[in-house]
């Protein structure tokens, strides 16, 4: 898998750039938009890989499980490839995606697949050879451990059961990988996902398993030998089955899974035969249980995936709808704001107009009641009054300036006294005190 990546660095770099671009656009768009559009920001990414539903689903699964399982992922990779792990660890998420897409492309090329299978086999064999004992011990330990844990946890936690089943599955899958690497290739994604989901628990178990492994090293060694033999046998069988399986695998995954189940039965039978030290019946029962649990788990995971997918799609649709609705609402709000603003402007204009027309009525009213003494041309007075809502002068007649004689100035005052009650301010507009305050220049 990683060799593939190494073989196609250009594709990896392209993919990285592509993702960076998308992330960049994500941030660009995120910057412009409001809170609810954070959800929207994820959409372009999913759309990029929306060619097939599976990658999309994987993406979802990855995204959802990635954060809590990063460390576990690393460990898992360690198990597989400790050498390349460090290099790949930084790029892992993006690379994996690319690898997956590449794999999909590779699947169409059988030869390449074969080569890949071979390399995989070689790798596995090498790994088995180099770290066979440890790996097998761990795996066996896990199985034992799981069996024990299953006993303890079955009744307590459904999740743990599922996890145990997954652990068994891991062991089985490794056996299966030897038998059916193609299936493995097809299922790696699922396995990875399943592993990740189980990783939290697996982590703990592994820690325990390390302790147990020391005690049971002898047994593990035997198991490892048996497994090695088993693998060899499985390889032969696999080669025979391969042609048929390839055809089947090209069909829907569910069929593949069914086949897998059938294969698993065979594997189990083989495993039972091989492992005679442990109680066959119990083991078979346990395995059956484990199978059932596994099936359930698989179904559950499939269902979960489907549910997640559906949910994601639903969310996406909802997000789309919400986005549209938000956009429409925002537009509507802006429009209504503009309308409100326009209405307020017209209201203010109306108010202002009302004030002016009222003012001119007041002006005429006072003007008609002003009897300035004769010969006061050019004399001026400035008077400020506030008119109450009932038309009376609220705080006295404030003569701010007057250039004429006492007679003239008192005529100005008398004009306002004579003018009460003045035209009332239009009550409709609820004029403020300053709205009702008028300065008169009288000349």
């Amino acid at each position: 898998m990683f060799k593939l990546i190494a073989k196609h660095p250009g594709a990896v770099i392209g993919a990285v750039i592509f993702h960076l671009l998308i992330v960049g656009l994500f941030f660009l768009s995120f910057d412009w938009t409001k809170k609810p559009e954070v959800a929207d920001a994820g959409i372009p990414i999913s759309l990029v890989s929306s060619d097939s539903l599976e990658p999309q689903a994987n993406n979802v699964a990855e995204e959802e499980s990635a954060k809590p399982s990063e460390k576990d992922l690393l460990k898992e990779q360690e198990i597989k490839e400790t050498l390349k792990q460090e290099k790949l660890s930084q790029e892992k998420r993006a690379e994996e995606k690319k690898v997956e897409t590449e794999k999909l492309a590779q699947e169409t090329l059988e030869e390449e697949n074969k080569q890949a299978e071979k390399t995989r086999k070689l790798e596995v064999l090498k790994l088995a050879a180099l770290k066979a004992q440890n790996l097998k011990k761990e795996n066996d330990a896990k199985v034992l451990e799981q069996q024990k844990l299953v006993k303890a946890q079955e009744q307590k936690q459904l999740e743990e059961k599922a996890a145990l089943a997954e652990e068994q599955e891991l062991a089985e899958k490794k056996a299966q990988e030897e038998v059916n690497e193609e299936r493995k290739i097809a299922e790696t994604k699922k396995l990875a996902e399943q592993k990740r989901t189980a990783e939290v628990e697996a982590k703990k178990r592994r820690a325990d398993a390390a302790a147990l492994a020391k005690k049971q090293s002898e047994e593990k060694k035997k198991i490892a030998d048996e497994k090695a033999n088993k693998e060899k046998a499985a390889e032969k069988e696999r080669l025979a089955e391969k042609v048929a399986q390839e055809k089947a695998e090209k069909e829907a995954k569910r069929k593949a899974e069914e086949e897998k189940l059938a294969q698993e039965k065979r594997e189990n039978e083989q495993a039972e035969r091989l492992v005679k030290k442990k109680a066959k019946e119990k083991a078979a029962a346990k395995i059956a249980k484990a199978k059932a649990a596994k099936e359930k788990a698989e179904k559950d995971t499939a269902e979960k995936l489907a549910a997640k997918k559906a949910e994601y799609q639903r969310k996406w649709q909802e997000a789309q709808i919400k986005k549209k609705a938000d956009a429409a609402a925002a537009d509507a709000k802006q429009k209504s704001d503009a309308v409100a603003a326009a209405r307020q402007i017209s209201l203010e204009k109306e108010r202002k107009g009302a004030q002016i027309s009222w003012g001119s009525r007041v002006q005429k009213h006072v003007d008609r009641r002003w009897h300035p003494p004769p010969g006061t041309k050019g004399k001026q007075a400035k008077v400020k009054i506030t008119i109450s809502n009932s038309g009376f002068i609220a705080n006295g007649i404030n003569i701010q300036s007057c250039t004429g004689s006492v007679e003239f100035c008192s005529s100005v005052e008398e004009a306002f006294e004579r003018s009460e009650p003045l035209p009332r301010p239009p009550g409709k507009y609820n004029f403020s005190k300053s709205d009702r305050t008028i300065t008169f220049k009288m000349d």
């Binding site: 656009l25 660009l28 768009s29 412009w32 938009t33 372009p44 925002a330 537009d331 802006q334 704001d337 503009a338 409100a340 603003a341 326009a342 307020q344 402007i345 203010e348 108010r351 202002k352 004030q355 002016i356 003012g359 007041v362 002006q363 005429k364 009213h365 006072v366 003007d367 008609r368 009641r369 002003w370 009897h371 300035p372 003494p373 004769p374 010969g375 006061t376 041309k377 050019g378 004399k379 038309g391 004689s405 007679e407 003239f408 004009a415 004579r418 009650p421 035209p423 009332r424 004029f431 403020s432 300053s434 709205d435 305050t437 008028i438 300065t439 008169f440 220049k441 009288m442 000349d443």
Partner: protein, 424 residues
């Protein structure tokens, strides 16, 4: 999608910014305080609507109110189907037409008049009792309305005295002294003479007229009761006996006598004939007019041309009041206003000023306007002006906004004198 997205975002941002700006711009604290100008030169009055009153009193009231220059009488066609007097009136409905609505009816030979404010629907009802002169009833109603609205006393129920001359350039000329209502109606001659009759002056009680008559081929001052016709010669000294003017207390008559050689102002006690000399110049001093109980404004050419001066009624130095123009004379004073004749570029006009302040307003535009006389409230000035070759009576409001020509008997009309308020 991205391409769409960004412009849309920008659009939204722009729209939002704009709307925020607009909201901010229009939601400023409140409107500015108003600043308005009130100019004396505007020429409309308080709008008032007069409903028809049986007997036509409303017509008399209308003319009175118009003449004051303080009202604009709204054309009757502006309101249709006004509820008849007695029926409920929603005056507020007419507030954009008139400030007041007047309705009324005749009642026992008098009038009942209702004044309603359209701003607050406030009603005032006046009952005017009957009078042998039924026009006076209407004038009295006009005074009530005037006073209620303007808060100064009305002077419509007053009288005018004036002189007419017929055949003025022939030997058949005839002088008549008339007394009429303040609107010129109901003129009644109280004296006729083939020789000049001049300068009628009302006693403060509005019962008597002092006047100058040349009926004995020399000037003499008489006082005649306008009701009884009984007359008394007050002064028939050598030379001029002219320009009588009653003191406010009615006990003294200021006049112009030339017993010292040139015409001077004297004050004669009406009761005992005691004479007090007020001015001592060798120039012409005439046309006295009382300004308060102890001050007299008069015309003198002591400065080279006729000008107005003021002095104490008990004598002493005189203070010149007019400086503009070469001819200022014939002062008449009421309510602290001083109407006079002013010669201006060869024409003579009526001018009005305050007694104490030198500024003046020109009230008339005729060529030879003369003999101004103020209504007792100082709101109107009657004077004579040439019209179709003869002098006729005119009344102008103190603000010069209204001017009416009064009807008068045949002849050249001259020297109107406006009576004080009538007690009866």
């Amino acid at each position: 999608m991205i391409n769409k997205f960004i412009p849309k975002t920008i659009h939204r941002v722009i729209v939002k910014a704009l709307s925020i700006f607009l909201l901010f711009a229009v939601s400023l604290p409140s409107m500015a305080e108003l600043e308005l100008r009130i100019s004396k030169t505007s020429d409309d009055g308080i709008p008032i609507y007069l409903a028809n009153i049986a007997g036509g009193a409303n017509g008399i009231i209308e003319a009175d109110l118009k003449r004051s220059g303080r009202f604009t009488v709204i054309d009757r066609s502006k309101i249709n189907n006004l509820p008849a007097y007695g029926a409920p009136l929603n005056a507020g409905a007419y507030s954009n037409i008139a400030d007041y609505i007047v309705r009324g009816k005749t009642l026992n030979g008098g009038l009942e008049v209702e004044l309603t404010s359209t701003s607050d629907n406030a009603k005032t009802i006046y009952n005017i009792s009957s009078n042998s002169n039924n026009r006076r009833v209407a004038h009295q109603a006009a005074d009530k309305i005037y006073e209620k609205v303007t808060r100064e006393r009305g002077a419509f129920d007053t009288r005018l005295a004036y002189v007419t001359v017929t055949n003025k350039t022939s030997n058949n000329r005839m002088f008549r002294l008339y007394v009429s209502d303040s609107d010129g109606h109901r003129p009644k001659a109280i004296l006729s003479s083939r020789l000049p009759v001049m300068s009628p002056a009302w006693s403060p009680d509005a019962q008597k007229l002092a006047y100058v008559s040349f009926e004995e081929n020399t000037s003499a001052i008489y006082v005649q009761n306008i009701f009884t016709g009984k007359k008394r010669k007050i002064s028939a000294r050598d030379g001029i006996n002219g320009a009588p003017a009653w003191s406010p207390d009615g006990n003294r008559l200021a006049m112009s006598l030339s017993i010292s050689g040139s015409p001077d102002i004297y004050v004669a006690n009406v009761n005992n004939g005691e004479l007090t000399r007020v001015t001592t110049s060798s120039a012409i001093d005439t046309e006295p007019s009382w300004s308060g109980t102890n001050s007299i404004v008069f015309t003198s050419n002591r400065g080279g041309s006729p000008q107005l001066y003021r002095t104490s009624a008990s004598g002493g130095s005189a203070q010149r009041l007019t400086f503009d123009g070469k001819y200022n004379s014939a002062a008449d004073i009421a309510n602290n206003k001083l109407a006079y004749v002013t010669g201006n570029r060869g024409a003579f006009h009526i001018a009005l000023r305050s007694v104490n302040n030198s500024g003046s307003d020109r009230l008339s535009n005729g060529q030879l306007d003369e003999s101004p006389t103020l209504s007792p409230n100082g709101a109107m000035v009657a004077y004579t002006t040439l019209k179709n070759g003869d002098n006729t009576l005119a009344v102008v409001s103190d603000n010069a906004k209204a001017r009416q020509f009064l009807t008068s008997p045949v002849g050249d009309v001259r020297e109107p004198a406006w009576s004080p308020y009538l007690n009866q």
